[in-house]
């Protein structure tokens, strides 16, 4: 039976990530980078994909948790004869640790411990490199462990104190207190490091990894609603941020279907510009300045490489990704074909990306950053490009393949780019900007949006200019400063979106169209709704109610996919999805701000009242 998407949890180290099921099966792992070909891909083909499974013999029940504010996963199995815990993590090191302890840079540690009684443990180690194109033979080298040529000079090793057979399988009876240790490693350009699979080493790595994640999480500057889930979201963003460059991948997986059994299957192991501003705000807002700064460095470097045009998405180093292709040999998740790697959206035009990049740069300034000459020039080039091309049609925020259209959201983001550049110019950050030209274009865009982007019949802003339907992305208009959340037109738009796109309380579709038939509610759109209410589109209580409803759709370890299936509440699409978590963080930040503003106003009112008393 196909493992439900929400039954997966993630472990990683800021370079790559693994998805592990509730049943202890490692079903997805790409090394050495998030976007490398997979070594295990049972997620996309249960029979052929390859897995590394450690679990008691069935039947068993399992529950799992991350160990506090860390990315260390612990699964507790209750089987017929006893209980077993499985601890999974990718070690993270400080530079000092890295010198003291042998490690090859790519390692995943699994520790199985029998907590009580006796448990019969089943182990299956069945790697299938290169998206399961290769089925290489495992070589058992005695005390050097199992090894496997993963193609192109790459080596996968498994060292363990468990008595694994040469095929990588075993059935072992464990007694209370016994532990088994597994170190999965990878080498691609130098002799491999073969860490000894001892209890002492694994315990030390676990302790260090827990300490480093806890220290990082403790730097999260947030006190407000749903703190646990906000910190979990921050931990996920940190995990999905590729440490060598600062890029944040949208999700660590490819081709998990947005429509059950359907063909909306895309590769998300890239970095999209469309959520750059929201991501920058989330990181700066939580006080993770170092991560926000490295993300901004990546963003500005990547965009300068394609100046003055912006691509929709970039790879981890800011380059153009390899072309999209299909993997017909894989059955797909739950039979959803095709499985794709690469993403053809990279060749699309999305004018909203200019607004995103400029808004992210504005957050950088608001958080104390300073533009150097090259960044200022870069932003001015973007402004000129927007002033020149804002009338053009594009594929829009949802990357709709086919004929480009005039999306209202794209127009508003063009307005936002020019408006923000004018502001930055007035504050002296962009001394050479052609502000008059920017203002002229900005005002023309507003005029067009207010005439063609508004429908008297619908009493709403519309998805496309002179169109007849709505889109959840319109909820972002106040966020970008285009209008106030409580402006009459915006309130009317909210009412229309609420009536049209809400499929279950708190859950919103992105829009109604041919492509969206059968897909779930979008996580990020649903959080935009909560944030819109928190920004002033509703009362604080309404915002909190919305937010609470959405929190109930996280899986048992606090993770969200791209979409939520309205009927079952299950996850759809690539998993876990960075931008859904960005939406959660931003909604929480806006609610906290509203809460604090309310407290300050109440305090001022009390002071005024006290002063008024004789």
């Amino acid at each position: 039976m196909t493992t439900p998407i929400q039954d997966y949890a993630i472990v990683g180290d800021g370079r790559s990530a693994a998805l592990i099921s509730r049943g202890g099966s490692l079903d997805w792992l790409c090394w050495p980078r998030f976007d490398s070909p997979s070594l295990f891909a049972a997620l996309l083909d249960e029979d052929r994909g390859g897995r590394f499974s450690i679990a008691p013999r069935r039947p068993f029940r399992s529950e799992r948790t991350y160990l506090g504010d860390t990315n260390v996963l612990r699964t507790r199995f209750s089987a017929a004869g006893g209980e077993l815990t499985l601890t999974d993590f990718m070690p993270v090191y400080t530079s000092v640790d890295a010198r003291k302890h042998p490690h090859g840079g790519h390692e995943l540690v699994r520790i199985a411990r029998c907590e009580s009684g006796q448990v019969e443990l089943e182990i299956v180690f069945d790697p299938r490199p290169e998206y399961a194109v290769l089925v290489p033979e495992i070589t058992a080298l005695g005390k050097l462990g199992l090894r496997l040529d993963a193609g192109r000079g790459r080596l996968l090793t498994l060292l363990t104190d468990a008595p694994l057979g040469p095929e990588g399988q075993a059935r072992i009876r464990m007694r209370s207190g016994e532990e088994l240790h597994f170190s999965l490693g990878y080498a691609n350009c130098a002799p491999a490091t073969l860490p000894p699979p001892t209890a002492e080493r694994c315990a030390l790595l676990l302790e260090e990894t827990l300490r480093l994640w806890r220290e990082w999480a403790s730097r999260t500057r947030y006190e407000g609603p749903a703190r646990d889930l906000v910190v979990r979201s921050a931990l996920l963003l940190k995990l999905l941020q590729y440490a060598p460059s600062g890029a944040i991948v949208a999700a660590p997986t490819t081709s998990l279907p947005e429509r059950p059994g359907g063909d909306l299957n895309w590769d998300y192991r890239f970095c999209w510009l469309r959520d750059a501003a929201l991501t920058a705000r989330a990181l700066f807002g939580l006080g993770h300045i170092a991560e926000a700064d490295t993300f901004m460095s990546w963003l500005l470097n990547a965009t300068s490489l394609s100046l003055p045009k912006l691509r929709v998405l970039y790879d981890l180093y800011g380059r153009k990704p390899a072309p999209e292709r299909e993997l017909p040999h894989l059955a797909g998740y739950g039979g959803a074909r095709p499985v794709r790697v690469g993403n053809a959206a990279m060749s699309q035009v999305q004018l909203d990306t200019y607004g995103e990049v400029v808004e992210a740069a504005a957050y950088f300034i608001r958080s104390g950053g300073v533009f150097d000459r090259s960044i200022a020039d870069l932003l001015c080039h973007f402004g000129c490009e927007v002033a020149r091309s804002w009338r053009e049609p594009d594929e829009g925020i949802w990357e709709i393949r086919g004929i480009p259209r005039h999306f209202t959201h794209s127009r508003v983001l063009c307005w936002s780019a020019l408006h923000r550049l004018c502001e930055l110019h007035e504050k002296g950050h962009l001394p050479g900007a052609p502000a008059a030209e920017f203002k002229r274009a900005r005002d023309l865009i507003r005029l067009e949006v207010e005439t063609l982007g508004w429908s008297e019949q619908l009493q709403s802003y519309t998805r496309t200019l002179a169109g007849g339907d709505v889109d959840s992305s319109l909820l972002l208009l106040p966020w970008y400063g285009y209008c106030a959340a409580d402006a009459p037109r915006m309130r009317a738009t909210w009412r229309r979106i609420h009536a049209t796109l809400e499929v279950r309380p708190g859950l919103f579709r992105r829009y109604h169209g041919e492509l969206t038939v059968g897909e779930g509610a979008f996580g990020i759109c649903s959080f935009w709704a909560a944030e819109y209410l928190a920004l002033g589109g509703g009362t604080l209580e309404e915002a909190e109610d919305h937010f609470e409803m959405l929190l109930g759709h996280a899986n048992d370890v606090g993770l969200y996919g791209e979409e939520i299936e309205p009927e079952t509440g299950g996850a759809l699409g690539n998993f876990p999805q960075a931008y859904t978590h960005v939406g959660l963080i931003n909604a929480a930040l806006s609610m906290r701000n509203r809460l604090e503003r309310g407290k300050r106003e109440a305090q001022r009112a009390r002071v005024r009242l006290a002063e008024a008393r004789p």
Binding site: H101, P102, G153, A187, N188, C189, T193, L194, R201
Partner: protein, 158 residues
């Protein structure tokens, strides 16, 4: 002896050998890295080992160039072909003698018999260096042929 000639030939030959090995690594033809293996004798840090090993490798190249010149003397002349002949013998010695000895002499290399420990954790090369990739022996021969060719071509008797 033409000492400046030995230094120049040894330096150039080692640079060519190291570049070939490094290129082969980056093309995923082999995971053999002599600078890393040499440097790891002095430090557990992978990054530092590569730097230290690079310089150790350069010094080794000078010493080996001295041996090559001694053989050229015995042969009565240098030249690219003679250098390649010595390089071929050199690579055979490396693959058949040095590589099997490595787990015994390298302080941080694991062995098949004892398995990895906290101190000895570097993957051993295996027979003919095949654990580092099936094309490793070919790359070792080619890089030593290139070393011999450069030393032989550059060295001139006074």
């Amino acid at each position: 002896m033409n000492w400046p000639g030995i230094l120049l030939a040894g330096f150039a030959g080692t640079l060519v050998l190291t570049s070939l090995e490094s290129g082969a690594q980056q093309l995923h033809l082999t995971r053999m890295s002599l600078p890393y293996l040499l440097g790891a004798m002095f430090t557990p840090s992978r990054d530092r080992a590569k730097v230290i090993g690079f310089f150790a490798h350069l010094i080794n190249g000078q010493i080996l160039a001295l041996f090559y010149v001694a053989i050229f003397n015995a042969m009565g002349g240098s030249g690219a072909v003679r250098g390649m002949l010595i390089g071929l013998i050199h690579s055979a010695v490396v693959l058949l003698v040095v590589v099997p000895l490595l787990p015994s002499i390298h302080p941080r290399m694991a062995s098949v018999h004892q398995g990895p420990t906290e101190l000895r954790h570097i993957e051993p090369p295996g027979p003919l260096g095949l654990y580092y990739g099936v094309t490793t022996p070919v790359m070792v021969v080619l890089s030593h042929l290139a070393f011999g060719m450069v030393v032989g071509a550059l060295y001139r008797f006074e």
